[in-house]
Symmetry: C2
Subunit: 624 residues, 2 copies
């Protein structure tokens, strides 16, 4: 797809770049149907080779994996970006019979936008009319959950969270260490009813705007798999629509569960439309960014009316969650004055500027009930922004941050009165020893509403490597109870991430989320580790690559030093060389012990006789 | 330096590649003299630019940093690899008058090696004779410490650990969060006497072989800065001497406190000589690797006599610590039989193979007292190897691992009877929730002997990114009480790391070690974070780059999107663009508030009147 400096013409190519559609090597898409024909959960399975034993072969099972890449990695599906993805939720939404199709868009901005003679950037050809809740209705998943209704979305995420782990019976693969869960309450099997109950009490959310039927539903909550979010978006200085759409696809390929479109600069509306129509994952935004563009960056000129119009504009496009910095209060702004790095949240600083300019409380706070009315008419979820998050470890856990967190707790209660799904954003920069206090306070003050954190970075001294400084904090905070981790790329603090940075950021956060799942004892989380380690120990190089988070990277690094195909089955790698491979020697040790046993232990000293008995007990014989 | 496939000739160029000698931008070497003229501790200081204020400039102090790069980053020192580095410890060692200069090398292997007509690889021209303790003497730092002697080495590390933090008075820079130390006992100032007491009780070691006088002494212990080790070394499959010497210099440039030469394959002895003579940091080895080469990789042919000769060979070259897998006991081998990944330690698997082949207890265990006699004659420190470390998270904290750890505890006591400095090696692969148990058990069973850990990796699923999976575990374990972190590069499990991998591995571990220092509350650890964050907030881009762990990377990433010099002072970056820089807006907020105050608050509403008072109290006025 190429949309740079030209209009949208029939001639244009809307196919997706090959590298974005390459299926993962050694993997196939698998599908599990739910209680209805149109509820089919897509996953990925890694097909393993056999283990050669002395007598015959040992079969190794396919390893099913939770899959965020959507149809892009399914070679049997044609994708044309100009058409967008197939909507899998349309029937589910219509059946509920609580929405109405609008004749047109309610937002003035959208109406003006669509009435333009021509556009500077390619226009996504809209085929659907926007949906909105019928008067007096509430279409949020929380609303249904509270009424005891299990929606297809809830069943979908239940099936998805289990990721077919029941397929794996071999104890070698299923054995897992006990987790330390810090009060999480994770069942051994995720049922649709459990999903409903978690959504009903606000401990989890399913971001799913009725105008974004293309998504494969997912859930965010401390009792489910830890999720990750990838931020993309154009800025006034650089990037283009096509680049951002590709970044979205790229991010989901590597494992992004959600994507936030943080576009600023020109063409925000159109960029968002292209991303939404082609995204299999929920999309979040920070509406204040676009609102600020509408007043040429003059924060003090922001008004509730135009902000409200922006919310409706984006809700009717299908944005699944809004970051809203309603916790930035006039009376708390002075608390930031003595900080090392003041206010580093963009939304937070914009609202702080507005509050001071007008000597008024933020319109996000004073109009919060009206905002809730909009959210529930489309099922947009709140991501209550942390406008005062610390921008340096020096500012971590200070009064400004915690005062806002307490306000977010109040607002959570209000949102829940409206049955609006809500998650809470968190920092930022926090030294390791202060991370747990942060989670504990959020869980307490915000009644376990899902905690959605940026990092945190555990040190400020490594610009260029902040996917690592923050991946460390992210692992800890996910383990302690955070539900979603917002990635940080190596470019953080330095520039706009490119595709390479997006991939590095996503993989670093998949590592953090997965390590956190294992640490909190998420059922089946260790299967992938066990399978990969077994493959590694048995020198099934290809299986090891295919089971890894980034098979391409693992394979290419291996091939740097041992390119030959023969080496793919070689019982050593370039790090140790033939004599020194400890795994090979271990196998020799086992074979040797086995040989000894065949000699009927005659040759064995009294000492070894004992050992040999221990071997028998220890089951070494069965093993080799 | 080019040593590949040709002999050492006078014509050869032994200068160090420019990129290895480039001083860090914006930095200068600083020197602090101790109690004697020949005790001068070298550090680095980052020179900062001024902060422009409304009225005049605010000076920002030089930030002193602990520096591992040795003379290589000092433009005033000429370095010729064929001559080696200047020895700074020679006088200190001679004064003690407890060593004798040998007429030649005691090792048969070394004698044969030196008597060769010609060598296949360039030979380092030896100018010194080897030293050994006089009969009946013990030259270990622990031996002196136990007798109440404060050696120059001890004073050197005391000065070095404080890293001139007393130079920084500004509270904005010195303020630091309380640490959570888990029983560590870190004084606010490190005194030579404190160093002595920690070495005397075995809680810290100063690796410093009397035949490696070139090193700048450093200390490893839980009550000091967390240190990192970088592994380098040729393998039978790839690499060369010159590459490995460059890797050593490269690793110390980025922050390696120690380097282990894990060379296998040909020319191990000569590679080691080149590395030792040019290394400003302690060098460790695993002697069993070379011993195995001497018997063509046939573990069962290893003998105590030739292993002993190898220890002496390496001790007289100047190796500072030996990894010795004396805890691998015959009776424990069966405990590894049912493991997911068996025995993954090379040394461990070699010894296990030997034990089974001979139905005997390991000669490392049966001859441990004789090994101690050798160690104390040269002050080589023990790094008691964890031959049964888990190679997958499935095997973490199992009986095999812990049985060996208990044996290492026994051996620690024996080593301490001989006043031999000792540290304990640890895993490996450990899920996050099991890391603390690991440290606690080591601290208990091994009486707080320094814990030196590889990683640990908190998940097995990310080959190609194991500097991250392990950097996460390394941060936690360093925080909990480990004293030194052995780096893991992105190539782990896949191949031999090249220079790029070494750099990535070292930086990831500097992040882990620094984050751990902050988490355990190491005095002054946060100064660098505070200075960098202040520079970031004030848009002093060059200072931000220069204060970072990898200035080159930070600068080049920034320049990818904003190359112009003007942008180095621009109050925004490409990530946010001009309107959206939150830090810029924060400054506007402060200026605005300041302006309000000048209007004598007349315009202010009753509400803002209060706020304005709060501002005054909060000191915002003084700040802007």
């Amino acid at each position: 797809m190429s949309t740079k400096n030209n209009h949208n013409t029939a001639a244009e190519d809307f196919s997706v770049a090959k590298r974005l559609r390459q299926p993962f090597t050694g993997s196939k898409k698998i599908f599990q149907q739910g209680s209805r024909d149109d509820l089919i959960v897509t996953m990925r399975a890694v097909e393993q080779t056999d283990t050669p034993l002395e007598h015959g072969l040992e079969k190794n099972p396919d390893i099913p994996l939770y899959d965020t890449s959507g149809p892009y990695t399914d070679p049997n599906i044609n994708i044309d970006l100009s058409q967008g993805l197939t909507s899998i939720r349309t029937a589910w939404i219509q059946e509920r019979n609580d929405t109405e199709e609008l004749s047109g868009y309610s937002s003035n901005f959208t109406q003006q936008h669509l009435s333009q003679e021509q556009w500077k950037v390619p226009q996504f050809k809209r085929t659907r009319k926007p949906l909105r809740a019928k008067a007096g209705h509430n279409v949020s998943q929380m609303h249904y959950a509270k009424r005891g209704i299990i929606t297809p979305e809830m069943e979908y995420v239940a099936i998805r969270e289990n990721a077919r782990r029941q397929d794996i019976q071999d104890q070698t693969l299923t054995s897992q260490h006990l987790g330390a869960h810090f009060g999480a309450n994770i069942p051994t099997e995720i049922t649709p009813e459990f999903v409903r109950s978690e959504v009903a009490c606000g401990r989890a959310i399913i971001p799913a705007n009725i105008n974004h039927p293309e998504i494969e539903p997912m859930i965010i909550g401390r009792n489910f798999r830890v999720k990750i979010n990838a931020n993309i978006g154009t800025s006034a200085v650089t990037s283009s629509i096509s680049e951002e759409v590709e970044k979205m696809i790229w991010a989901t390929r590597w494992g992004a569960d959600n994507v936030m479109d943080l576009s600023t600069g020109k063409h925000i509306h159109e960029t968002r439309e292209w991303i939404l129509r082609n995204s299999p994952v929920p999309i979040g935004t920070v509406p204040i960014y676009q609102a600020l563009e509408k007043v040429d960056g003059k924060a003090e000129e922001l008004t509730w009316e135009m902000y409200r119009d922006t919310l409706i504009e984006q809700a009717e496009q299908g944005v699944d969650y809004f970051t809203i910095h309603a916790g930035v209060l006039l009376r708390h702004i002075p608390l930031t004055a003595k900080r090392m790095t003041g206010i580093v949240s963009r939304g937070g600083s914009i609202m702080a500027k507005w509050c001071l300019a007008h000597h008024k409380e933020s319109f996000l706070y004073t109009h919060f009930h009206e905002i809730c009315e909009i959210m529930k008419a489309y099922d947009v979820s709140f991501s209550l922004g942390d406008g005062f998050r610390p921008g340096s470890i020096a500012d971590a856990n200070d009064r400004a941050q915690f005062a806002e967190l307490e306000t977010l707790g109040e607002l959570t209660k209000v949102a829940w009165e409206h049955d609006v799904q809500t998650m809470i954003e968190g920092p930022g920069h926090i030294p390791a020893q202060l991370i747990k206090d942060n989670v504990d306070k959020e869980l307490h003050d915000c009644f376990e509403a899902p905690f959605y954190v940026l990092g945190p970075l555990v040190t400020d001294v490594a610009p260029g490597y902040d996917h690592i400084t923050s991946g460390i904090g992210a692992t800890m905070i996910g383990w302690y109870g955070a539900a979603m981790l917002c990635y940080v790329t190596p470019k953080e603090h330095l520039g706009l991430p490119d595709k390479h940075d997006v991939r590095d950021g996503v993989i670093a956060y998949k590592i953090a989320a997965h390590a956190a799942d294992i640490a909190k004892g998420y059922p089946g989380a260790q299967i992938r580790d066990n399978a990969l380690s077994k493959a590694r120990f048995e020198f099934r190089w290809e299986d090891q690559f295919n089971l890894s988070l980034d098979p391409e990277k693992a394979r290419s690094m291996h091939d740097e030093t041992m390119p030959k195909e023969a080496h793919k089955v070689a019982h050593f790698c370039s790090m140790c060389g033939p004599h020194f491979c400890s795994m090979k020697i271990t196998q020799d040790v086992r074979d040797y012990a086995h040989q000894q046993s065949l000699n009927n232990n005659e040759a064995l000293s009294q000492g070894m006789q004992e050992k040999s008995e221990e071997y028998k007990k220890s089951g070494l014989y069965n093993k080799v």
